[in-house]
Amino acid sequence: MSDSSNQDNTSVGASHSRPVRYGKRLVGMLAVGLAIWLLLAHDLLNPICEWFRSDFELWLNNHSVLAPLVYILVYILSVVV
């Protein structure tokens, strides 16, 4: 009896967690994709890309300690979570 109820619980949990998990992955991939596109794209919205790039590089140069720390933190979170 208890086994079957456990199974039911896990299956319900799995069905709930799966869309959430895929949703999180999708949002993460979209965010990374957008960042890469803004960094690398040449033809589309060129001025916006250039502003973003120059702002980003300025921020990197001005925050020589914080920038690597943020990167390391994001990396660790993406691996552990």
């Binding site: 690398l40 990167y71 990396y75 660790i76 691996v79």
Partner: protein, 159 residues
Amino acid sequence: MLTLIGGGIFGPLWGSIYVSMASIVAAGLAFLIARYLAAEWIERKTSGKLKKLKCGIEAEGWLFLAFARLVPILPYSFLNYMFGLTRINFRVYILVSWACMLPLTVTYVWAGYAGKKLVFGEGGRGYYLTYLGTAVGRIFLASMLPKMIRKFRQNRSKK
């Protein structure tokens, strides 16, 4: 992907240092979480593959870990948690993981750096070829390492 981005942002030297630091801290954290906090849950989720991993560690010790790091068959984060459930020593795990992840880390960081240079057109055509050639060469060398390790393991098991 994050390793490539790291190379593009920080360049080959600092990119390699930061990515290496981040990856080893993440590997250590996941290992400790698996060993001390979520052992039962992870064991339930990964029973089949965990058995193979445990057998491998029992039979070959750190060499199995080295092989698993050099040949990225299983996802990196998944492996970190799985190794937390084996009997491997934490210090050995950190040291071997760091040493064996380094070649691929440097390769991907360089590829990210070269990719950025290519996309933004920094430098002339000669630079393009150098960046591209070095990136391809490094990826080729990194892909040869698993074969060498495999041969080493086979020779060791024959003895």
